[in-house]
Amino acid sequence: MSNIIEIKDLSFAYHGRNVLEDIDLSIEAGSFLGLVGPNGSGKSTLIKCLLGLVTPERGEVRLFGERLSRFHKWEDIGFVSQKANSFNSGFPATVFEVVSMGLYGKVGLFRFLTKKHKEKVREAIRQVEMEAFMHENIGQLSGGQQQRVFIARALVSEPKLLILDEPTVGVDAKSVKRFYTMLKDLNRNKGITLVLVTHDIGAMTEYVTDVACLNKHLHFHGDTKEYEEQEDDMMSRMYGHDVQIITHNHEHHDDHAHDGGHSS
Protein backbone atom coordinates (compact mmCIF):
# COMPACT_ATOMS: atom_id res chain seq x y z
CA MET A 1 0.00 0.00 0.00
CA SER A 2 1.16 3.54 -0.65
CA ASN A 3 2.15 5.99 2.03
CA ILE A 4 -0.14 8.93 2.58
CA ILE A 5 2.21 10.64 4.99
CA GLU A 6 5.99 10.41 4.94
CA ILE A 7 8.08 12.19 7.52
CA LYS A 8 11.84 11.96 7.17
CA ASP A 9 14.45 12.99 9.69
CA LEU A 10 12.29 15.76 11.12
CA SER A 11 13.44 17.97 14.02
CA PHE A 12 11.71 20.96 15.53
CA ALA A 13 12.96 23.41 18.15
CA TYR A 14 11.02 26.07 20.02
CA HIS A 15 12.97 28.89 21.68
CA GLY A 16 16.14 26.85 21.34
CA ARG A 17 14.64 23.81 23.05
CA ASN A 18 14.26 20.66 20.97
CA VAL A 19 10.66 19.52 20.88
CA LEU A 20 11.02 16.87 18.21
CA GLU A 21 14.18 15.00 17.24
CA ASP A 22 14.91 12.82 14.23
CA ILE A 23 11.37 11.71 13.53
CA ASP A 24 10.87 9.17 10.74
CA LEU A 25 7.29 8.13 10.27
CA SER A 26 5.33 6.73 7.35
CA ILE A 27 1.60 6.26 7.44
CA GLU A 28 -0.05 3.88 5.01
CA ALA A 29 -3.27 4.56 3.20
CA GLY A 30 -6.20 2.94 4.96
CA SER A 31 -4.65 2.77 8.41
CA PHE A 32 -6.01 4.23 11.63
CA LEU A 33 -3.04 5.48 13.61
CA GLY A 34 -3.18 6.38 17.26
CA LEU A 35 -0.41 8.87 18.00
CA VAL A 36 0.19 8.78 21.74
CA GLY A 37 2.54 10.41 24.19
CA PRO A 38 2.51 12.34 27.45
CA ASN A 39 1.69 16.04 27.68
CA GLY A 40 4.36 18.18 26.05
CA SER A 41 5.74 15.24 24.07
CA GLY A 42 5.46 17.14 20.78
CA LYS A 43 2.36 15.41 19.40
CA SER A 44 0.58 18.60 18.39
CA THR A 45 3.81 20.09 17.07
CA LEU A 46 4.32 17.08 14.84
CA ILE A 47 0.81 17.53 13.46
CA LYS A 48 1.46 21.22 12.88
CA CYS A 49 4.67 20.39 10.99
CA LEU A 50 2.69 17.91 8.96
CA LEU A 51 0.11 20.50 7.98
CA GLY A 52 2.59 23.27 7.30
CA LEU A 53 1.32 25.39 10.20
CA VAL A 54 4.87 25.57 11.57
CA THR A 55 8.18 25.02 9.80
CA PRO A 56 10.54 22.37 11.15
CA GLU A 57 14.25 23.01 11.68
CA ARG A 58 15.19 20.06 9.60
CA GLY A 59 13.60 17.22 7.72
CA GLU A 60 11.05 16.59 5.04
CA VAL A 61 7.31 16.03 4.97
CA ARG A 62 5.47 14.48 2.05
CA LEU A 63 1.70 14.33 1.77
CA PHE A 64 0.24 11.98 -0.83
CA GLY A 65 3.74 11.67 -2.30
CA GLU A 66 4.02 15.44 -2.80
CA ARG A 67 6.47 17.65 -0.93
CA LEU A 68 4.64 19.80 1.60
CA SER A 69 5.72 23.07 -0.06
CA ARG A 70 4.20 21.92 -3.34
CA PHE A 71 1.14 20.26 -1.88
CA HIS A 72 -2.10 22.02 -2.72
CA LYS A 73 -4.90 19.45 -2.61
CA TRP A 74 -5.94 20.51 0.86
CA GLU A 75 -9.49 19.24 0.34
CA ASP A 76 -7.99 15.74 0.64
CA ILE A 77 -7.12 16.47 4.26
CA GLY A 78 -9.57 17.06 7.06
CA PHE A 79 -8.23 18.53 10.29
CA VAL A 80 -9.80 18.83 13.71
CA SER A 81 -7.57 20.92 15.92
CA GLN A 82 -7.12 20.66 19.63
CA LYS A 83 -8.17 24.28 19.83
CA ALA A 84 -11.27 23.90 17.68
CA ASN A 85 -13.39 24.17 20.81
CA SER A 86 -11.78 27.39 21.99
CA PHE A 87 -13.54 29.69 19.52
CA ASN A 88 -15.46 32.71 20.78
CA SER A 89 -18.70 31.10 21.94
CA GLY A 90 -20.62 34.24 20.99
CA PHE A 91 -19.60 33.85 17.38
CA PRO A 92 -22.71 34.32 15.28
CA ALA A 93 -22.60 31.20 13.12
CA THR A 94 -24.96 28.26 12.72
CA VAL A 95 -23.91 24.62 12.54
CA PHE A 96 -24.64 24.77 8.80
CA GLU A 97 -22.36 27.79 8.34
CA VAL A 98 -19.51 26.23 10.34
CA VAL A 99 -19.65 22.97 8.39
CA SER A 100 -19.78 24.93 5.11
CA MET A 101 -16.37 26.37 6.00
CA GLY A 102 -14.91 22.96 5.23
CA LEU A 103 -15.74 23.58 1.56
CA TYR A 104 -14.58 27.18 1.31
CA GLY A 105 -11.02 26.39 0.27
CA LYS A 106 -12.33 24.15 -2.49
CA VAL A 107 -15.08 26.33 -3.93
CA GLY A 108 -12.79 29.16 -4.99
CA LEU A 109 -12.87 32.96 -4.95
CA PHE A 110 -15.96 34.84 -6.10
CA ARG A 111 -18.10 31.69 -5.92
CA PHE A 112 -20.74 30.79 -3.46
CA LEU A 113 -22.00 27.38 -2.44
CA THR A 114 -24.12 25.66 -5.07
CA LYS A 115 -27.08 23.37 -4.35
CA LYS A 116 -24.76 20.41 -4.65
CA HIS A 117 -22.34 21.88 -2.09
CA LYS A 118 -25.21 22.56 0.30
CA GLU A 119 -26.38 18.97 -0.05
CA LYS A 120 -22.85 17.84 0.85
CA VAL A 121 -22.93 20.04 3.93
CA ARG A 122 -26.25 18.51 5.02
CA GLU A 123 -24.87 15.02 4.34
CA ALA A 124 -21.81 15.68 6.54
CA ILE A 125 -24.05 16.99 9.32
CA ARG A 126 -26.21 13.85 9.06
CA GLN A 127 -23.11 11.69 9.20
CA VAL A 128 -22.27 13.02 12.67
CA GLU A 129 -25.95 12.88 13.68
CA MET A 130 -26.36 16.60 14.21
CA GLU A 131 -29.14 17.26 11.69
CA ALA A 132 -31.51 18.36 14.44
CA PHE A 133 -29.16 21.26 15.21
CA MET A 134 -28.44 22.35 11.63
CA HIS A 135 -29.64 25.93 12.16
CA GLU A 136 -28.67 26.31 15.79
CA ASN A 137 -25.93 28.66 16.92
CA ILE A 138 -22.64 26.80 17.38
CA GLY A 139 -21.89 28.47 20.71
CA GLN A 140 -25.05 27.09 22.30
CA LEU A 141 -24.12 23.43 21.83
CA SER A 142 -22.39 21.16 24.35
CA GLY A 143 -18.69 20.32 24.00
CA GLY A 144 -19.43 16.90 22.52
CA GLN A 145 -21.89 18.31 20.03
CA GLN A 146 -19.46 21.02 18.96
CA GLN A 147 -16.80 18.40 18.46
CA ARG A 148 -19.10 16.48 16.14
CA VAL A 149 -19.75 19.65 14.17
CA PHE A 150 -16.00 20.15 13.75
CA ILE A 151 -15.68 16.56 12.53
CA ALA A 152 -18.41 17.30 9.99
CA ARG A 153 -16.53 20.43 8.91
CA ALA A 154 -13.45 18.27 8.35
CA LEU A 155 -15.42 15.55 6.54
CA VAL A 156 -17.46 17.72 4.19
CA SER A 157 -14.70 18.06 1.60
CA GLU A 158 -14.60 14.23 1.45
CA PRO A 159 -10.98 13.97 2.60
CA LYS A 160 -8.84 10.90 2.14
CA LEU A 161 -6.97 11.69 5.34
CA LEU A 162 -8.49 12.88 8.60
CA ILE A 163 -6.25 14.24 11.37
CA LEU A 164 -7.67 14.73 14.84
CA ASP A 165 -5.67 16.41 17.59
CA GLU A 166 -6.96 15.46 21.05
CA PRO A 167 -10.56 15.60 19.89
CA THR A 168 -12.06 14.19 23.06
CA VAL A 169 -10.78 16.77 25.53
CA GLY A 170 -13.78 18.21 27.36
CA VAL A 171 -16.15 15.55 26.01
CA ASP A 172 -17.97 13.24 28.44
CA ALA A 173 -17.09 9.53 28.60
CA LYS A 174 -20.25 8.28 26.93
CA SER A 175 -19.80 10.60 23.96
CA VAL A 176 -16.15 9.60 23.69
CA LYS A 177 -17.07 5.96 23.13
CA ARG A 178 -19.64 6.86 20.52
CA PHE A 179 -17.11 9.17 18.93
CA TYR A 180 -14.42 6.49 18.63
CA THR A 181 -16.96 4.07 17.15
CA MET A 182 -17.81 6.66 14.53
CA LEU A 183 -14.13 7.09 13.67
CA LYS A 184 -13.67 3.35 13.36
CA ASP A 185 -16.61 3.25 10.98
CA LEU A 186 -15.14 6.06 8.85
CA ASN A 187 -11.90 4.12 8.64
CA ARG A 188 -13.30 0.65 7.91
CA ASN A 189 -16.29 1.50 5.77
CA LYS A 190 -15.35 4.74 4.05
CA GLY A 191 -11.67 3.93 3.70
CA ILE A 192 -10.51 7.21 5.23
CA THR A 193 -7.00 7.16 6.65
CA LEU A 194 -7.06 8.46 10.20
CA VAL A 195 -4.49 9.96 12.52
CA LEU A 196 -5.74 10.36 16.06
CA VAL A 197 -3.59 12.27 18.54
CA THR A 198 -4.43 11.38 22.11
CA HIS A 199 -3.03 10.80 25.56
CA ASP A 200 -5.89 8.43 26.30
CA ILE A 201 -3.93 5.27 25.50
CA GLY A 202 -6.15 2.72 27.17
CA ALA A 203 -9.37 3.46 25.34
CA MET A 204 -7.87 3.93 21.94
CA THR A 205 -6.24 0.54 21.25
CA GLU A 206 -9.66 -1.02 20.79
CA TYR A 207 -10.26 1.07 17.68
CA VAL A 208 -6.95 1.84 15.97
CA THR A 209 -4.97 -0.38 13.60
CA ASP A 210 -1.56 1.15 14.35
CA VAL A 211 0.09 2.95 17.22
CA ALA A 212 2.94 5.46 17.31
CA CYS A 213 4.47 6.51 20.62
CA LEU A 214 6.09 9.90 20.73
CA ASN A 215 8.05 11.74 23.36
CA LYS A 216 10.46 14.02 21.54
CA HIS A 217 11.65 10.87 19.74
CA LEU A 218 9.48 8.31 18.05
CA HIS A 219 9.74 5.39 20.49
CA PHE A 220 7.51 2.97 18.68
CA HIS A 221 5.54 2.59 15.48
CA GLY A 222 3.76 -0.64 14.59
CA ASP A 223 0.39 -2.32 14.49
CA THR A 224 -1.81 -2.63 17.53
CA LYS A 225 -0.83 -6.26 18.11
CA GLU A 226 2.87 -5.49 18.28
CA TYR A 227 2.12 -2.54 20.51
CA GLU A 228 0.18 -4.61 23.01
CA GLU A 229 3.01 -7.13 23.21
CA GLN A 230 5.47 -4.42 24.17
CA GLU A 231 3.13 -2.05 25.94
CA ASP A 232 4.59 -2.14 29.47
CA ASP A 233 8.12 -1.81 28.19
CA MET A 234 7.03 1.08 25.98
CA MET A 235 5.33 2.93 28.78
CA SER A 236 8.35 2.86 31.02
CA ARG A 237 10.52 4.04 28.15
CA MET A 238 8.21 6.90 27.35
CA TYR A 239 7.06 8.00 30.76
CA GLY A 240 9.93 6.82 32.89
CA HIS A 241 9.81 3.73 35.12
CA ASP A 242 7.12 2.41 37.44
CA VAL A 243 4.15 3.28 35.30
CA GLN A 244 1.13 1.07 35.57
CA ILE A 245 -1.64 1.13 33.06
CA ILE A 246 -4.88 0.65 34.90
CA THR A 247 -7.41 1.23 32.14
CA HIS A 248 -7.09 -2.24 30.65
CA ASN A 249 -10.69 -3.09 30.08
CA HIS A 250 -10.72 -3.88 26.39
CA GLU A 251 -11.23 -7.38 25.10
CA HIS A 252 -8.67 -9.37 23.15
CA HIS A 253 -10.15 -11.16 20.22
CA ASP A 254 -6.84 -12.26 18.79
CA ASP A 255 -5.46 -15.70 19.51
CA HIS A 256 -2.38 -14.64 21.43
CA ALA A 257 -4.19 -13.26 24.44
CA HIS A 258 -2.01 -13.03 27.52
CA ASP A 259 -3.14 -16.33 28.93
CA GLY A 260 -5.08 -19.05 27.22
CA GLY A 261 -7.20 -19.97 30.21
CA HIS A 262 -10.32 -18.05 29.41
CA SER A 263 -13.60 -19.83 28.85
CA SER A 264 -16.89 -18.53 27.59
Binding site: L51, G52, L53, H72, K73, W74, E75, I77, F79, S81, K83, A84, F87, N88, G90, F91, P92, A93, T94, F96, E97, V98, S100, M101, G102, Y104, G105, K106, V107, L109, F110, F112, H135, E136, N137, R153, S157
Partner: protein
Protein backbone atom coordinates in the same frame (compact mmCIF):
# COMPACT_ATOMS: atom_id res chain seq x y z
CA UNK B 1 -23.40 62.58 -17.21
CA UNK B 2 -25.73 65.54 -17.62
CA UNK B 3 -28.20 63.83 -15.37
CA UNK B 4 -25.48 63.46 -12.75
CA UNK B 5 -24.67 67.13 -12.95
CA UNK B 6 -28.29 68.02 -12.39
CA UNK B 7 -28.30 66.25 -9.02
CA UNK B 8 -28.97 68.63 -6.15
CA UNK B 9 -26.54 68.67 -3.23
CA UNK B 10 -29.10 66.81 -1.18
CA UNK B 11 -29.53 64.07 -3.78
CA UNK B 12 -25.77 63.68 -4.02
CA UNK B 13 -25.59 63.42 -0.25
CA UNK B 14 -28.34 60.80 -0.11
CA UNK B 15 -26.78 58.64 -2.84
CA UNK B 16 -23.43 58.80 -1.05
CA UNK B 17 -25.16 57.95 2.23
CA UNK B 18 -26.93 54.91 0.79
CA UNK B 19 -23.65 53.53 -0.57
CA UNK B 20 -21.92 54.05 2.79
CA UNK B 21 -24.87 52.66 4.73
CA UNK B 22 -24.54 49.44 2.74
CA UNK B 23 -20.77 48.93 2.75
CA UNK B 24 -19.94 49.97 6.34
CA UNK B 25 -22.04 47.31 8.12
CA UNK B 26 -20.91 44.66 5.63
CA UNK B 27 -17.30 45.38 6.59
CA UNK B 28 -18.35 45.88 10.21
CA UNK B 29 -19.68 42.32 10.41
CA UNK B 30 -16.19 40.97 9.73
CA UNK B 31 -14.53 43.46 12.08
CA UNK B 32 -17.02 42.40 14.75
CA UNK B 33 -16.32 38.67 14.54
CA UNK B 34 -12.60 39.36 14.44
CA UNK B 35 -12.99 41.63 17.46
CA UNK B 36 -11.18 44.53 15.82
CA UNK B 37 -13.94 47.11 15.30
CA UNK B 38 -11.63 49.55 17.12
CA UNK B 39 -9.33 49.57 14.07
CA UNK B 40 -11.78 51.94 12.38
CA UNK B 41 -10.91 54.61 14.97
CA UNK B 42 -7.19 54.44 14.21
CA UNK B 43 -7.75 54.52 10.47
CA UNK B 44 -10.18 57.41 10.56
CA UNK B 45 -7.63 59.49 12.44
CA UNK B 46 -4.85 58.62 10.05
CA UNK B 47 -7.25 59.59 7.23
CA UNK B 48 -7.50 62.99 8.88
CA UNK B 49 -3.72 63.25 8.70
CA UNK B 50 -3.93 62.46 5.00
CA UNK B 51 -6.60 65.08 4.46
CA UNK B 52 -4.52 67.67 6.30
CA UNK B 53 -1.55 66.69 4.15
CA UNK B 54 -3.68 67.05 1.02
CA UNK B 55 -4.92 70.50 2.00
CA UNK B 56 -1.42 71.59 2.96
CA UNK B 57 0.06 70.36 -0.33
CA UNK B 58 -2.66 71.89 -2.49
CA UNK B 59 -2.05 75.26 -0.79
CA UNK B 60 1.72 75.07 -0.81
CA UNK B 61 2.21 75.32 -4.58
CA UNK B 62 -0.02 76.35 -7.42
CA UNK B 63 0.77 73.29 -9.51
CA UNK B 64 -0.30 71.04 -6.64
CA UNK B 65 -3.69 72.72 -6.50
CA UNK B 66 -5.39 69.77 -8.21
CA UNK B 67 -4.91 67.53 -5.15
CA UNK B 68 -8.21 66.38 -3.66
CA UNK B 69 -7.75 65.82 0.10
CA UNK B 70 -9.96 62.74 -0.12
CA UNK B 71 -7.33 60.98 -2.23
CA UNK B 72 -4.47 61.79 0.12
CA UNK B 73 -6.76 60.67 2.94
CA UNK B 74 -7.16 57.33 1.20
CA UNK B 75 -3.42 56.96 0.65
CA UNK B 76 -2.71 57.62 4.34
CA UNK B 77 -5.48 55.27 5.38
CA UNK B 78 -4.07 52.46 3.21
CA UNK B 79 -0.57 53.02 4.59
CA UNK B 80 -1.96 53.13 8.14
CA UNK B 81 -3.84 49.89 7.68
CA UNK B 82 -0.77 48.05 6.46
CA UNK B 83 1.30 49.57 9.28
CA UNK B 84 -1.20 48.32 11.84
CA UNK B 85 -0.87 44.81 10.40
CA UNK B 86 2.92 45.13 10.61
CA UNK B 87 2.78 46.42 14.20
CA UNK B 88 0.53 43.53 15.17
CA UNK B 89 3.24 41.18 13.95
CA UNK B 90 5.97 43.09 15.78
CA UNK B 91 3.96 43.18 19.04
CA UNK B 92 2.75 39.62 18.65
CA UNK B 93 1.72 39.30 22.28
CA UNK B 94 0.34 42.84 22.65
CA UNK B 95 -1.48 43.27 19.38
CA UNK B 96 -3.87 45.89 20.75
CA UNK B 97 -0.91 48.31 20.96
CA UNK B 98 -1.01 48.79 17.19
CA UNK B 99 -4.23 50.82 17.36
CA UNK B 100 -3.18 53.57 19.84
CA UNK B 101 0.25 53.84 18.23
CA UNK B 102 -1.22 54.56 14.81
CA UNK B 103 -4.03 56.68 16.23
CA UNK B 104 -1.76 58.99 18.20
CA UNK B 105 0.85 59.23 15.45
CA UNK B 106 -1.94 60.17 13.08
CA UNK B 107 -3.32 62.90 15.32
CA UNK B 108 0.14 64.26 16.12
CA UNK B 109 1.17 64.55 12.52
CA UNK B 110 -2.30 65.80 11.60
CA UNK B 111 -2.14 68.60 14.17
CA UNK B 112 1.16 69.81 12.74
CA UNK B 113 -0.15 69.76 9.19
CA UNK B 114 -3.36 71.53 10.18
CA UNK B 115 -1.38 74.31 11.88
CA UNK B 116 0.68 74.72 8.72
CA UNK B 117 -2.27 74.96 6.35
CA UNK B 118 -4.97 77.60 6.08
CA UNK B 119 -8.14 75.57 6.20
CA UNK B 120 -11.17 77.42 7.50
CA UNK B 121 -12.85 76.46 10.73
CA UNK B 122 -15.92 75.32 8.76
CA UNK B 123 -13.88 73.12 6.46
CA UNK B 124 -12.34 71.24 9.39
CA UNK B 125 -15.64 71.04 11.16
CA UNK B 126 -17.12 69.33 8.11
CA UNK B 127 -14.29 66.84 7.95
CA UNK B 128 -14.59 66.03 11.64
CA UNK B 129 -18.35 65.72 11.89
CA UNK B 130 -19.44 65.05 8.33
CA UNK B 131 -21.64 67.04 6.04
CA UNK B 132 -23.83 65.97 3.18
CA UNK B 133 -24.21 69.43 1.76
CA UNK B 134 -20.53 69.55 0.80
CA UNK B 135 -20.56 66.30 -1.21
CA UNK B 136 -19.47 67.53 -4.62
CA UNK B 137 -19.87 65.53 -7.79
CA UNK B 138 -16.20 64.53 -7.70
CA UNK B 139 -16.62 63.35 -4.10
CA UNK B 140 -19.62 61.30 -5.09
CA UNK B 141 -17.56 59.71 -7.84
CA UNK B 142 -14.85 58.90 -5.29
CA UNK B 143 -17.37 57.34 -2.91
CA UNK B 144 -18.97 55.39 -5.75
CA UNK B 145 -15.74 53.91 -7.10
CA UNK B 146 -14.19 53.08 -3.73
CA UNK B 147 -17.56 51.62 -2.74
CA UNK B 148 -17.67 49.37 -5.80
CA UNK B 149 -14.08 48.30 -5.24
CA UNK B 150 -14.80 47.49 -1.58
CA UNK B 151 -17.88 45.53 -2.57
CA UNK B 152 -15.92 43.51 -5.12
CA UNK B 153 -13.27 42.62 -2.51
CA UNK B 154 -15.98 41.70 0.00
CA UNK B 155 -17.83 39.44 -2.42
CA UNK B 156 -14.61 37.89 -3.64
CA UNK B 157 -13.39 36.96 -0.15
CA UNK B 158 -16.65 36.62 1.79
CA UNK B 159 -16.32 32.88 2.48
CA UNK B 160 -12.60 33.01 3.08
CA UNK B 161 -12.89 35.95 5.48
CA UNK B 162 -15.61 34.19 7.43
CA UNK B 163 -13.59 31.00 7.72
CA UNK B 164 -10.44 32.89 8.81
CA UNK B 165 -12.42 34.91 11.35
CA UNK B 166 -13.85 31.76 12.91
CA UNK B 167 -10.75 29.57 12.96
CA UNK B 168 -7.57 30.75 11.27
CA UNK B 169 -5.74 27.44 11.68
CA UNK B 170 -8.52 25.47 10.04
CA UNK B 171 -8.80 28.03 7.23
CA UNK B 172 -5.14 27.51 6.50
CA UNK B 173 -5.42 23.74 6.37
CA UNK B 174 -8.47 23.95 4.12
CA UNK B 175 -6.31 25.60 1.49
CA UNK B 176 -7.13 29.28 2.07
CA UNK B 177 -4.24 31.72 1.54
CA UNK B 178 -4.62 33.40 4.92
CA UNK B 179 -1.82 35.94 4.50
CA UNK B 180 -2.97 37.10 1.11
CA UNK B 181 -6.53 37.52 2.27
CA UNK B 182 -5.51 39.36 5.44
CA UNK B 183 -3.60 41.78 3.23
CA UNK B 184 -6.66 42.48 1.09
CA UNK B 185 -8.72 42.83 4.23
CA UNK B 186 -6.38 45.60 5.44
CA UNK B 187 -6.82 47.42 2.13
CA UNK B 188 -10.55 46.94 2.38
CA UNK B 189 -10.81 48.54 5.83
CA UNK B 190 -8.80 51.54 4.62
CA UNK B 191 -11.01 51.95 1.54
CA UNK B 192 -14.23 51.86 3.51
CA UNK B 193 -13.05 54.28 6.18
CA UNK B 194 -11.80 56.88 3.73
CA UNK B 195 -14.87 56.66 1.51
CA UNK B 196 -17.21 57.16 4.47
CA UNK B 197 -15.62 60.14 6.12
CA UNK B 198 -16.97 62.88 3.86
CA UNK B 199 -20.54 62.13 4.90
CA UNK B 200 -20.17 60.75 8.42
CA UNK B 201 -17.06 62.62 9.50
CA UNK B 202 -13.75 61.38 10.88
CA UNK B 203 -14.79 61.28 14.50
CA UNK B 204 -17.93 59.31 13.71
CA UNK B 205 -16.88 56.90 10.97
CA UNK B 206 -16.16 54.20 13.55
CA UNK B 207 -19.78 54.32 14.62
CA UNK B 208 -21.00 53.46 11.14
CA UNK B 209 -19.05 50.19 11.02
CA UNK B 210 -19.86 49.35 14.64
CA UNK B 211 -23.39 50.43 15.60
CA UNK B 212 -25.38 48.62 12.89
CA UNK B 213 -23.67 45.27 13.52
CA UNK B 214 -23.76 45.79 17.30
CA UNK B 215 -27.53 46.06 16.87
CA UNK B 216 -27.81 43.14 14.46
CA UNK B 217 -25.81 40.69 16.58
CA UNK B 218 -28.45 41.13 19.26
CA UNK B 219 -31.00 39.55 16.95
CA UNK B 220 -28.96 37.36 14.59
CA UNK B 221 -28.42 33.63 14.88
CA UNK B 222 -26.18 33.22 11.86
CA UNK B 223 -23.42 35.29 10.30
CA UNK B 224 -25.66 35.83 7.27
CA UNK B 225 -28.24 37.43 9.51
CA UNK B 226 -25.60 39.66 11.12
CA UNK B 227 -24.80 40.94 7.63
CA UNK B 228 -28.40 41.33 6.44
CA UNK B 229 -29.75 42.98 9.62
CA UNK B 230 -26.57 45.06 9.81
CA UNK B 231 -27.11 46.51 6.34
CA UNK B 232 -30.75 47.14 7.20
CA UNK B 233 -29.83 49.02 10.38
CA UNK B 234 -27.05 50.84 8.52
CA UNK B 235 -29.39 52.13 5.83
CA UNK B 236 -32.04 53.07 8.38
CA UNK B 237 -29.51 55.03 10.43
CA UNK B 238 -28.15 56.68 7.32
CA UNK B 239 -31.44 57.72 5.73
CA UNK B 240 -33.03 58.60 9.06
CA UNK B 241 -29.95 60.61 10.04
CA UNK B 242 -29.84 62.55 6.78
CA UNK B 243 -33.56 63.27 6.98
CA UNK B 244 -33.42 64.62 10.53
CA UNK B 245 -30.19 66.53 10.06
CA UNK B 246 -31.64 68.29 7.01
CA UNK B 247 -34.89 69.20 8.70
CA UNK B 248 -33.37 70.13 12.05
CA UNK B 249 -30.33 71.77 10.45
CA UNK B 250 -27.80 69.89 12.61
CA UNK B 251 -24.54 68.04 11.77
CA UNK B 252 -25.31 65.09 9.49
CA UNK B 253 -22.73 62.73 10.98
CA UNK B 254 -24.00 63.38 14.47
CA UNK B 255 -27.59 62.74 13.49
CA UNK B 256 -26.69 59.52 11.64
CA UNK B 257 -24.84 58.22 14.67
CA UNK B 258 -27.60 59.17 17.10
CA UNK B 259 -30.13 57.40 14.89
CA UNK B 260 -27.82 54.36 14.91
CA UNK B 261 -27.66 54.45 18.71
CA UNK B 262 -31.47 54.60 18.92
CA UNK B 263 -31.71 51.54 16.62
CA UNK B 264 -29.16 49.75 18.79
CA UNK B 265 -31.24 50.43 21.90
CA UNK B 266 -34.34 49.12 20.14
CA UNK B 267 -32.45 45.93 19.17
CA UNK B 268 -31.26 45.40 22.75
CA UNK B 269 -34.80 45.87 24.09
CA UNK B 270 -36.23 43.56 21.41
CA UNK B 271 -33.75 40.87 22.38
CA UNK B 272 -34.66 41.23 26.06
CA UNK B 273 -38.28 40.99 25.15
CA UNK B 274 -37.72 37.89 23.01
CA UNK B 275 -35.61 35.99 25.52
CA UNK B 276 -38.12 37.00 28.19
CA UNK B 277 -40.88 35.36 26.20
CA UNK B 278 -38.93 32.20 25.42
Amino acid sequence: MELLQQLTFLERGIIAGVIIGFICPLLGAFLLVRRITIISEALSHITLTGIAAGIFLSQSALWLGFINPLYTGLVFSLAGSLLIEKLRQIYKHFQELAIPIILSSGIGLGAILISLSQGSYNEWYNYLFGSIVTVRLGDLGFIFFTGVLALVILIMFYKELLSISFDQEFAKTSGIGVRKINFFFSLLIALVISMSMKVVGILLVGAMVTLPVAASIQLAKSFRQVVIFGILFGELAMIGGIYFSYHLNVATGGMIVVTGVVLLLIAVILKRFRTGLA
